[in-house]
Amino acid sequence: MSWWSRVANVFRGDRLNREIAEEFELHVEEAIATGRDESEARRALGTHVRHREEGHQTRVIGWLDSLRADVIFGWRQLKRNRVTSAAAILSLALAIGACTSAFRLMDALLWRPLPVAHADRLYDIWRETAINGAPYRYDSWAYPSYQLMRDAVKDHAQLLAVSPAERTDLTYGSDDDMEKAHVQYVSGSMFGAFGLRPALGRLLDENDDRVPKASPYAVLSYDYWQRRFGRDPKVIGRSLRIGSDLYQIVGVVDLPFTGTDPGTLTDVFLPIMMNPLVTRKDAAWMRTLAIVHPGVALGPLTAKMSAISLAFETERAKSFKDLPNSIMTAILSEKLTMIPAGAGVSELQDQYRRALGVIGVLVALVLLIACANVANLMTAQAATRAQEMALRVSIGAGRLRLVRMVLTESVMMAVLASLLAAAFAWWSAPLVVSMINPPDDPARLMLPGDWRVLGFGLLLVVVVVLLFGLAPALRASAVKPVNALKGGEDPHGRRRGMYVMIGAQVAFCFVVVFIAGLFVTTFQRLAHKPLGFEPENLLLLDTVAQREQPASVWDQAVEGLRGVSGVEDAALCAAPLLGGNSWNNFISINGAPPGPIVSHFLEVSPDWIRTMRMPLIDGRDFRNGDTTPGAAIVNETFAKTFFHGENPVGKTFARESRTVHYQIVGMVRDAPYRSLREPTLPVAFIPRHEIDASGVVQGSTEGTFVVRTEGAAPTALASLLRQRIHQEHPELRVSNIRTQMELVRDQTIRERLLAMLAVFFAGVALLLAGIGLYGVLHYSVLQRQREFGIRIALGARIANIARLVTSEVFAMVIAGGAVGLVLGLLAAKYIQSLLYGVKGNDPATLIMPVLVLLAAAAFSALPAVLRAARVDPAKMLRAE
């Protein structure tokens, strides 16, 4: 009989029994036919039942049969305690789902190998150095330096150049049809090295890596081909334009490759040779990836590349003038390291590695709290079933059999919970991804539900069952029939176990609430940080021109915008504040060599300061006729940094190795330049009108119009203003419209997300711990009813009873809280880099979670205390 037919037998027990009976009947009939007495024949055959049992036992797998019985029995148990079972399953589902979701995110962003050949041998090459003793590392390279390294180590590793995927304006038709897509410049040889195949057409290859500007070809990603072109095969041969460069689409790269930047799905791959920066020695803008050949040691390889890089930088440094010594030392003492990059490399990884880790820990703690709850629930239920268990033991059930019976119930709960959890994880992971990065350009991650996720989920269920199911099962099966039938074993032992669980819950809960508090404070500090300008009602119109436009065109456009009704003020700048752009340079004061601190710069038109409502502390705003070089307005930090806090108005400085000179005409209040988090940078605002050596004002291809509107919603004017600019100056095209408020808000996306998730899980943790505490107290009151009745009959007051009910549990709450405090302080150290304006060991931040926990504990204890106090001795003793 095959294993399968035996398994099948489990589920057709009735038929099997009938068959055995039929076989016996035939036997008896034949016996009678040979003249034997029927009753004698039946006796000789033995009892029907015994045969049936033995027949059935051998013909099915015994354990499977009893498993079926356990499942049915377990289901009945779950149904009998419908509300508690549902609560347990829901809390487990939420916790398991959140854990799985966190795992999906972390896996997709940080761990999952890229779907390319040799991902296990893929490295990202970093440079490490120290500036004035502070460690500094980066992984951007100049292409010529990459080329030298590539050729030198080609026998040991294949080096690939890839740029970060950037959101870029491109068009398949006229300028009016501009759209955005994520463009990544890559080595043509990358496709072959990664073993990628085209879904259509051809991919790029080594030939596209030879000559700059010689390979105007584009390869689309499958996802983009599907989204943008509905998988139209006629896309091959079409051309797309970025700025003034035309590219011909030659192919589509097959799934599942979506680029090397987790967090961004690349839409268009272009040959790296087509990027204008490839010939620049002074621009570090791309990453160098290495596929190391099998068996090659990393040490010598790194040393070889380090030597080449150093030679390159040394050569380059000869042309440096006025570079501060500390920076020069830093550049010339760079060491290379190879960091495994099998999962890809992106800035998003660095930004979110720790944040996701913290969220992962929070949800794991919530899961532990939920498990403790269910364990306590099972223990309490086991207590009410002690008599049943005792009965089972006395009629011969083995201990293992009982453990299995109780565990089956746990497994069923866990399985039901994990089904719900899968649905929750399915829904929540993409939701969280969509909240990373600004809403108009959200992060995109591949989140397949494959064996990695499934395996993690299964592992989680097993761990969860062991966590909450094993102890109660062992305890339930260890029942001594004599004790149980006598009317109860030692009830305190059981309660003590539950109290320990309560202590653990409180500890974990404290950590979660504490960390949530830190994140909320961080978000609030950042969101309410004084800005130094008024971001409300400011519309930003990023505008580009295909050819350089004279300054007068841009100035007229500003005047045109001022004339639109609903516009209060307008100005022009090179880029908006907090928009992600930054430009810095060393500066020289009074002709001295520049120091190690850089100043940041921003080109603005007259009245920009007024439009931004940036308070002018001294001096004046720019006027028509101010030029760069010429006049500058600086912020307070600039004055503090370079002029020791003296009033800088009237003083001078120079940049670009003392060749470009400025006189300071005004000083404004500090305002964040590129980030809310960092300390304010020294910033010099300089006129947008740049003159060349002969004093001629230069034109420009791009700028951002800043418009202060009168209405409450600046976006209401957006399309009108866009049209207005294009009508009056057809050569100008608005490529992107944002509000300054959006940029300010985008600064706190990670903090908002962390605060939101942490508060949500803190709420869940508090709720679960509260329910747990309530349940345990309720149970202990039920158990000690007799005692309370007697005490009340003897004159105990409500205060005494309350103390009796709560003292032990509250001791555990305090102990748990103390442990949680220590854990929280340790955790706060680890997450300090995620915090802003708040310290983990600040007493103020510790008081809040303590109060919240105490309030929750008191609230959860109240019903049990009331119930204990209301025990009616007469009624209770009569019931005994």
Partner: protein
Amino acid sequence: MKKPDALQGSLDLLVLKILERRPRTHGYGIMTAVKDASDDLLRIEEGSLYPALYRMEEAGWIRAEWIKNDTGRRARVYELTAAGRKQLGLEESRWHAATAAINQVLRTV
């Protein structure tokens, strides 16, 4: 799995031997065949026949099948499998070895 004792061993041997000679025999038939072949000297306990049959079926030595017998009634008949044939050889040689040993003891004492 329980170790087959001597008695069970001989029961298995008898049943397997009968089924080798007369494939597709039902339970009662096996019993009477043993009785007839041993001139009424050996008798299989009816109470242990069927558990033995189910056990051997589970072990894969014999397989069962429902057929219609001459009288038109459904009967469950058994036959040897390849594994059963091997087992029979094993049991037979074990039996011979055992009886030879016993005989030797009887002779030398």
